[in-house]
């Protein structure tokens, strides 16, 4: 591939600065020793990281977010696998309609989803609980799980399954021993992308959280609404570092391009 000229590289440097600056500044400010937002010009301090220890609600929210993400993406994958196998490989009336319905949460603003679910759960008399959060996140992450599982199930060679049947495999055995292992990359990457989407979701969650089930992004958001101090910087810094670690691992395992852009031609 051709090289970029100096002008292009200068532009590129500015864009990289633009993209990374706000993320880096959070991580740097987290090390300040002062009581207000400032760059740690007089030495690095872990003061604000220790301060998280005095605020158990942040740790509780972190745990809530992890559970919520794990649960909703697991349910999403369990529902998406049979749907993807049917949509990806069988011809049937209403197939396009179903696919549109399943992908439609991507088009709906999360704010609208939050309002709609809040109304639904209060009206249905179910109240707002941890389970409402799971249900809401399930709707949000389902399209991501479905999309990644679909791409692997579409590419599945029907003859491989037929071979198993001709050798005497029952429907269930065929699924467990042949189909599932073959779509496993899609299932795993779909689960991970769902997990991340759920973990980061804030707009819808604001509406359907309770004081006992506040996710970490919601907790941060509500805290920032009152005041911005170095504590949120240290919490965010930890969140950013964790995400970057996950990101690098994912890039090694699946390739970020495949996960976010979809399977390319190469």
């Amino acid at each position: 591939m051709n090289r970029n000229g100096p002008l292009a590289l200068a532009f590129h440097a500015l864009v990289v600065l633009f993209v990374t600056a706000p993320i880096l500044v959070v991580c740097v400010v987290a090390f300040t020793s002062r009581g207000y937002l400032s760059l740690p010009t007089d030495g690095l301090s872990l003061r604000w990281f220790y301060a998280i220890g005095d605020r158990p609600e942040f740790l509780a929210s972190f745990r809530t977010s992890l559970w919520l993400a794990a649960l909703s993406s697991t349910i999403a994958v369990v529902l998406a696998v049979p749907a993807a196998l049917a949509i990806g490989r069988l011809k049937f009336a209403g197939r396009g309609l179903l696919l549109s319905l399943f992908q439609s949460p991507l088009m709906i603003p999360h704010l609208v989803l939050g309002i709609a679910l809040l109304r639904f759960f209060t009206e249905a008399g179910l109240g707002i609980s941890g389970w409402t959060l799971v249900a809401g996140h399930l709707v949000v992450v389902f399209p991501f799980a479905l999309r990644l599982i679909l791409t692997t199930s579409v590419g599945l060679d029907q003859q491989i399954e037929n071979a198993a049947v001709s050798l005497g495999a029952s429907r269930w055995t065929k699924f467990r021993r042949i189909t599932l292992p073959l779509i496993l990359p899609g299932v795993v990457s779909g689960w991970i992308l769902s997990f991340i989407q759920s973990f980061d979701e804030v707009t819808m969650s604001v509406f359907i959280s309770t004081p006992h089930t506040t996710t970490l992004p919601v907790r941060l958001f509500l805290y920032i609404q009152d005041n911005i101090d170095p504590l949120v910087a240290s919490v965010s810094a930890i969140l950013i570092v964790l995400t970057v670690i996950v990101m690098v691992v994912l890039d090694r395992l699946f390739g970020m391009e495949r996960l976010l852009v979809g399977p390319g031609r190469s």
Binding site: V16, V19, P22, I115, Q197, V206
Partner: protein
């Protein structure tokens, strides 16, 4: 923030194993249909109905049906201003994303082996970082005692700090940062479809690098830029966390307005009406613009 990445259209399978009517595909879809259908369609319909109810300070939500809330939004200049601001912010954010994201994607596309994937990761990675954390970064950079102001006044370039927080400029900058990856993804996908030999063919015919970009590359990635713009515009128009943090209570957009009506004023019907308008506007933009782009560039998509 949802990552509404390029939605993959799945072509119908060429040969189905059985073509006689079979219940299997429906049974396989049933669990997902029940769950997603219930959790999506029922709440949306209930919201639509809610938006037709009315609200009184003492009566709360009443069960009558009227278009009162919509009439109020259409007549009141307070709401006009907010919707207009939302539109302006979304448009400028989209423009900024296109002006930065499209050239950047092309530069990435031209990079050599290790750098290409490293910087692609740098550009797309922020998508996975919590939008609250990213917006917080901008709040720290843009504040009156923030890094940018301190640096500029420290260097003597500014005599007094410039106010970015609680301004449309601040919201646009932060939103452009949050939504940029979607533009890069979209243009990147279009660039991947390019035949690399076409560029070489243009060069062999004597075209300058600038002419190659303008006459050969740009027309081919235009659909990518446009579909990226649709995604960015739709997400900017319905963005909540970023305008809420950078814009604060003073600079309201449609989403933060609905939030306040719902959770502060407790006027649920009015909040629902704003949400319905937001949803309808979103769908019109996404579906309508996609149709236009597809028709205009039918031969490029084929």
């Amino acid at each position: 923030m949802s990552a509404a990445t390029t939605d993959t259209a799945i072509a119908a399978p060429k040969s189905a194993p059985r073509e006689r009517f079979s219940a299997t595909p429906y049974l396989l879809n049933l669990p997902a249909l029940l769950v997603i259908g219930t959790l999506l369609l029922v709440p949306l319909i209930m919201t639509l109905i809610l938006s037709l109810h009315s609200f009184g300070m003492y009566t709360g939500v009443t069960d009558d049906i009227s278009f009162k809330n919509y009439a109020e939004i259409i007549q009141d200049s307070y709401f006009h201003e907010i919707f207009l601001r939302t539109f302006r912010i979304s448009l400028l954010t989209t423009l900024l994303c296109a002006l930065i994201g499209a050239p950047e994607a092309y530069i990435l596309h031209r990079m050599r082996a290790p750098w290409r994937s490293i910087f692609l990761l740098v550009m797309l990675g922020p998508l996975l970082i919590s939008v609250v954390a990213r917006t917080l970064g901008w709040a720290m950079l843009l504040g009156s005692t923030g890094v940018i102001n301190q640096t500029l006044t420290g260097l003597g370039i500014l005599s007094a700090p410039v106010q970015f927080m609680y301004t449309e400029t601040g919201v646009i900058i932060a939103l452009a940062h949050v939504l940029m990856p979607f533009m890069v993804i979209s243009v990147w996908a279009a660039l991947q479809r390019l035949d690399p030999q076409v560029e070489n063919a243009a060069i062999s015919l004597g075209a300058s690098p600038f002419t190659v970009v303008r006459r050969v590359i740009l027309p081919q990635i235009m659909p990518g830029i446009l579909s990226g713009s649709i995604i960015v515009f739709a997400l900017a128009a319905s963005a909540f966390a970023t305008p809420a943090i950078i814009g604060g209570r003073r600079l309201k957009v449609a989403a933060t307005l609905a939030y306040d009506e719902f959770l502060s004023t407790l006027n649920w019907p009015l909040g629902a009406a704003i949400a319905v308008l937001l949803l309808v506007g979103n769908i019109i933009i996404i579906v309508g613009c996609n149709r236009l782009v597809e028709r205009r560039y039918a031969q490029v998509f084929q």
